[in-house]
């Protein structure tokens, strides 16, 4: 008996040590929605909020006035962008989420499909800042919630514009950036002729939205009656446009080409990217100031670009729906939106915020704002991710390994059919 028990005791002791350690680590924590105080009680609740990337500290600072005014405390948790999907999946599986979460537009469909978001359509009328009219029509409530209801509201916006090195273009005899597809192609080809290792344009091989925006620019949509449809002249024209840069030798074929470095060094003097690139250039190469600028994306029959950005939503089953909406309402206020732009560099989602001098006086922001007027988010559908991966793989195979175009596109359409049927 003694032997057995002492062995057991050892195990128990070990387990106890672990528990004690755990208890130490656990003290003073504020769990998520599951344990949060009921909104109905007199005490102000603590909201847990998920924010993506490294903006956690900035958000904590940004919500201070909110907490002072309402007494509602906010507990911010930053989640690495790469790991959002893991966190979402496990939270959906266990039902343990935050109260409020940031949702990248590209992930909105997954969040909604998993039932992670609360339908706030019944309450939204009480919060003036959340009215659909405050936001660009691309992210209107109807567009973001194809199945009805309101599951999220826009928070920050982001779009793609043409970045160009004005100094290099001028040297090559181009006074203005290309405004059309044809101009883009000829300019890129001319600039690529500058010598070995020099290119005219850059196509990120991982950039899934690019071929979609090209399709939009022909005036064609990639969805038809709720199904993905790529068997269109518009898509085929977009593919030709995409591949043309490779045929001309205007773009790097290296998959690890770094756009920031390439733009700063001048190896890729033109490329389509977002405001984050502007921030990176300013930080890494302040001496380049005045030698580069941005303009709206070159057009075919239209100049549509990508509407990216993030929304905010209330986690399904949160016990603090009202407090959460108060917070979201606060974050969507024009003044908060401007403050957020100043602190974190992310563009407002609220149209009115662009009138603030901090934004209106910035020539880059003027271009972003103009482009946002003609931008669309990717289709809000869980099938889209698989389809977009297939598009990218097909295009890269044709461009980089010389796969037969007609055959590859046939195979792509077949894959799309399978995805639609799933």
């Amino acid at each position: 008996m003694r032997r057995t028990t002492s062995t057991l005791r050892l195990g128990v002791a070990a387990a106890a040590t672990a528990l004690v350690l755990a208890a130490c680590g656990n003290s003073g924590s504020t769990p998520g929605a599951a344990d949060a105080t009921d909104a109905g009680s007199s005490e102000a609740p603590t909201l847990s909020v998920w924010v993506m990337g490294d903006s956690g500290a900035n958000l904590e600072a940004a919500v201070k006035p909110f907490t002072e005014k309402t007494g509602i405390a906010v507990d911010v948790e930053a989640i690495p962008w790469d790991s959002v999907n893991d966190r979402l999946t496990t939270a959906v599986a266990s039902g343990k989420g935050p109260d409020v979460t940031q949702i990248g537009l590209s992930q909105l469909a997954s969040f909604m499909d998993g039932g992670a978001l609360e339908d706030i359509s019944g309450k939204i009328a009480d919060y003036p800042n959340l009215a659909s009219a405050n936001f660009p029509s691309a992210v209107s409530a109807e567009n973001l919630n194809p199945d009805g209801g309101v599951y999220s509201v826009p928070w920050v916006s982001d779009t793609r514009v043409l970045f160009y090195r004005s100094d290099i273009l001028a040297q090559a005899g181009f006074a203005a950036p290309p405004a059309t597809w044809d101009e883009l192609r000829t300019t890129a080809k001319a600039l690529a002729g500058r010598g070995e290792g020099q290119f005219g344009y850059y196509i990120p091989q991982w950039d899934a939205p690019l071929p979609v925006t090209y399709t939009w620019q022909t005036g064609t949509d990639v969805m038809k009656d709720g199904k993905i449809d790529l068997d269109t002249d518009g898509f085929r024209a977009a593919v030709d446009h995409y591949l043309a840069f490779y045929q001309d030798g205007s773009v790097p074929t290296a998959s690890d080409f770094d756009q920031t470095t390439g733009f700063i060094s001048g190896a890729a003097p033109m490329l389509v990217s977002g405001p984050y690139l502007a921030n990176a250039i300013k930080e890494q190469a302040p001496d380049l100031d005045g030698k580069w600028s941005v303009s709206p994306v070159p057009t075919d029959s239209k100049g549509t670009s990508l509407f990216a950005g993030s929304n905010l939503g209330v986690w399904a089953g949160s016990k603090n729906v009202d407090a959460s909406l108060q917070l979201i309402n606060f974050l969507a206020g024009p003044a908060t939106q401007v403050a957020w732009y100043k602190a974190n560099g992310e563009l407002p989602a609220v149209t009115a915020a662009f009138d603030d001098p901090a934004l209106a006086d910035d020539p880059l922001v003027a271009v972003y704002a103009k482009q946002l007027q003609d931008s669309k988010p990717l289709p809000i559908s869980t099938a889209w991710d698989a389809a977009n991966a297939a598009i990218l793989e097909t295009l890269n195979a044709i461009a980089l390994t010389g796969a037969d175009k007609a055959q590859s596109l046939d195979a792509l359409n077949q894959t799309i059919e399978e995805i639609n049927a799933r």
């Binding site: 070990a14 387990a15 980089l400």
Partner: protein
Amino acid sequence: MTGDGGAGGSLLGSTAVLHRRRAGVPAGQPVGRRPARRSRLARVRRAAVPYGFIAPALLLLALFGLLPIVVAAGVSLTDLDIGGLGHPDTIRVIGLDNYRRLFEDAAFWRSIQTTGLFVGLGVPVIITVSLAVAVGLNASRSRFFRALRAFYFLPAITAIVAIALIWGYLYNSQFGLFNQLLGAVGLEPVAWLSQPGTARVAVALVAVWRATGLNIIIFLAALQSIPPEYHEAAALDGAGRWTTFWRVTFPLLRFALFFVTVTTLIGWLQFFDEPYVLTRGGPVGATTSVSLFIFKNGFSLNQFGYASAGSMVLFVIIASVTVLQLRLARGTDD
């Protein structure tokens, strides 16, 4: 190797293990203890002792190692996706459909081929390199040689996040150091991570670099457990260094070799980290291993049923290869 007749004092323990294993005799039940006079209860208690020792670890392994795979086996028969996780009532049992789809998926077969290629490339290289370095490091016990060990072990202890960063910068086609060095000696730059062929080699190289450290230590330890008398005897017989290595050292390393081969093989069959962080499986799918295929098609796109089916297939492959190895090892043992 059959006779360890020459086992010296320091070898006593380990050869004893080998002996027991070969004879199929479990180690160490205390000898000379007749249970005749002990009560029944005492015997039950006594029998419970070993279970008490293994219980905590086995419980944890069962909970976090085996139970999940059982769950995964069940999930592989359903169409579970993110919607199903949120609304369990919508999950449908679809039998073997996921497996059918998997075997019809050209990309899956391609990932199996790719994994096979990585295994064929990586395993022999790792074993050869780490054995060679270990033999070299074992040539002297001087402070200098001992200090060198730490350098070889460095890659093994560096976090994968850091590894991705460093090697990404070394390989980079624009500003990478490797291409600069090639340029300095007048060679054409290489598209390290952008050409399917070179990308595979480049990714495998990083994995080799990262895996050798631990294996070097294991081989080194095995080498140091060989008494120097063996080598001196061989030298006396007039055997050259090369002959001595193959005839004396190498056979004595059999168990270490076996151990390293099994763990390395399992590691490479699950090859994931390096292609994930360096190429995300590209260019054009050239470095997509089975693990990465499962991850990309399953978890990035939230098709958990499909991904679980892929994992079950991978599990079966790994288990069969390992069993085959054990068989082979046992076969040559006699």
